[in-house]
């Protein structure tokens, strides 16, 4: 896959949801870039029209929730063709999706469901990512999931699995730092170790989003953290973000907030904070190099 992507945005961006769309068009706040779920725009011609207008002023990334790279029954080719149409229209800086499955036969389950990390799954995901990249004519970014359960049959851990997919397909990765925090808490692993083992050379983008603690029905008295994107970014996610930047270097970063949406200015504020964290790490690294 040799198609170059547009140059990456210098400052953090925000996930753009329909509720903020008209305000975004009118106010055009200073954020580095925008990321959209294509599923919200493919079904809404008016929103797609406004997005095309915004794409003149901001770099735009397409983050699909409907391309199910891990579905045993095959990806939805009709949906892929529709996404290709949007890609052709707005020429996004990235096209990304999740390491998950969402479809079963002709049913769409509207959730990001977990995969066992086996050779069979690796072959399937490889085949689907190849098809995606060939259809879209550009690299596809795969995002690490937020996990609540795993599978006894998994033969490799998630970072090894991602490394395999990168090696086999040449795809890029989207490292969702908050998902790392959530999964590590829920599955009892170390988030720093996950970041240290993540295939750094393939990272094209970082996500940060809020999570919500609930009672863990599997373990009385314990908390389960849910990747709701309905809250401010937690302190421990910011801390892991700093750790990730020290390891990965500066990367395009996006603030995700999908539910219980705050005012647009709150999202912009979170993006500014991410920028401050990134600049601090950059200076810290520069001083260390100079010393």
């Amino acid at each position: 896959m040799t198609t170059p992507m547009m140059c990456t945005p210098p400052t953090p961006g925000i996930g753009l949801r329909l509720a903020h769309l008209e305000e975004m068009v009118a106010a055009r706040p200073p954020v580095g870039w925008l990321e959209v779920h294509p599923e919200n725009f493919l079904a809404n011609p008016h929103a797609a029209e406004l997005l095309a207008e915004l794409s003149v002023h901001y770099p735009v990334s397409i983050h699909t929730v409907g391309i199910s790279v891990g579905t045993a029954s095959g990806i939805d080719r009709l949906h892929l063709i529709r996404i290709r149409g949007l890609v052709d229209q707005i020429n996004p800086i990235f096209v990304s999706g999740h390491l998950a499955w969402s479809s079963y036969g002709n049913e769409y389950l509207n959730d990001l469901l977990p995969l066992p990390y086996t050779e069979e799954t690796a072959r399937l995901v490889t085949s689907h990512v190849d098809e995606l990249q060939n259809t879209l004519g550009r690299p596809y970014l795969i995002e690490n999931p937020a996990s609540y359960v795993g599978f006894k049959s998994s033969a490799m851990n998630e970072t090894v699995f991602l490394h395999e997919i990168v090696q086999r397909t040449g795809c890029r990765l989207l490292c969702d730092v908050s998902n790392v925090v959530v999964s590590a808490h829920n599955m009892g692993s170390n988030p720093q170790t996950y970041i240290d083992d993540f295939p750094a050379e393939a990272i094209a983008e970082i996500h940060l989003g809020g999570f919500t603690p609930v009672e863990d029905e599997a373990t009385p008295g314990a908390e389960l953290w849910i990747d709701t994107h309905a809250a401010p970014i937690a302190e421990r996610s910011w801390d892991l973000y700093a750790h990730a930047l020290r390891r990965f270097g500066p990367k395009p970063t996006l603030i995700e907030w999908d539910n219980q949406l705050p005012r647009l200015t709150t999202l912009v504020g979170e993006a500014r904070y991410a920028d401050r964290v990134a600049r601090t790490i950059l200076m810290e690294t520069a001083h260390a190099d100079a010393g």
């Binding site: 409907g66 509207n110 359960v149």
Partner: protein, 263 residues
């Protein structure tokens, strides 16, 4: 070892139907990992129920949110989405509502919900530059019946035996009386919208069938026959002229592969 397809079949049963028997022994995570499947069950149910409630707020106003929520839960179990664009999910929900228990007492429930579905669809459409009557200036009258028109995307047609448009206006203007009894009356509605705006207008039956036939891909001749079947006194030429002057047609074609914006 079980195949991925087998695992996903069992996982799907757990998510949609709450049957965790097939998948529980496969999982890790916490002391009783299968309990965590409730996260995915809630994600599935809540996200889709919320999507339907957002699409049918007026129907919720009519029958109450608890009833609509209950019906939505039944609907998503019986009719899971078949594609990822959830904004397009729910077109068959009005028909599903019509067989729910409450529908026996609210005869117009299906038609009201259908009107609301159509309003939601036309409001997110974009309209295009309409053609004018001059587009037909070079057409000999005998050839006109063979032409087809493409209409604005934000147009829907609904024939109903209840004045659901009046009911919708009550909802939109927040002027509902304490009690309301609707009398059955057949109406022919055109729902039109674009870019966040919408309106619905009553048409006469002949005009309705003409426009509906055109919107479904019928030729001008076929639409004229439909309108004459409905009302022998109608002038199809007049009905066509009104369609054009209302700015509803965007292209005119003689055959499937010949476009004639101008002749």
């Amino acid at each position: 070892m079980r195949t991925l397809a087998e695992i996903q079949a069992d996982f799907r049963n757990a998510v949609i139907h709450g049957d965790t028997n097939g998948i529980a022994h496969e999982l890790v995570g916490g002391l009783k990992p299968d309990r965590r499947l409730s996260v995915h069950q809630r994600n599935y149910e809540t996200s889709l129920v919320d999507a339907l409630l957002v699409k049918f707020p007026a129907t919720g106003w009519l029958i109450g949110t608890p009833f609509l929520t209950h019906a939505a839960k039944d609907f998503i179990r019986a009719h899971p989405p078949t594609a990822p664009c959830i904004a397009e999910y729910g077109d068959s929900f009005p028909a599903f509502l019509s067989v729910c228990a409450l529908a026996e007492r609210v005869s117009y429930l299906r038609d009201f919900a259908e009107l609301e579905w159509h309003v939601g669809q036309v409001a997110i459409a974009v309209d295009f530059a309409p053609i004018s009557a001059e587009a037909f200036s070079g057409v000999v009258p005998d050839a006109l019946p063979n032409f087809r028109l493409k209409l604005q995307p934000g147009l829907r047609y609904l024939n109903t035996s209840w004045p659901v448009d009046e009911l919708m206006k009550l909802y939109l203007t927040e002027t509902a009386p304490e009690q309301l009894e609707l009398a059955s009356i057949e109406i022919w509605l055109e729902i039109r919208g674009a870019r966040g705006q919408f309106q619905f207008n009553r048409l006469n039956p002949a005009e309705f069938v003409f426009r509906k036939c055109i919107s479904e891909g019928g030729s001008i001749g076929e639409a004229a026959e439909c309108s004459l079947d409905t009302d022998t006194g109608v002038d199809p030429g007049h009905v066509l002229a009104a369609l054009i002057s209302d700015g509803l047609a965007t292209t005119v074609t003689q055959t499937a592969d010949q476009h004639h914006d101008n002749f």
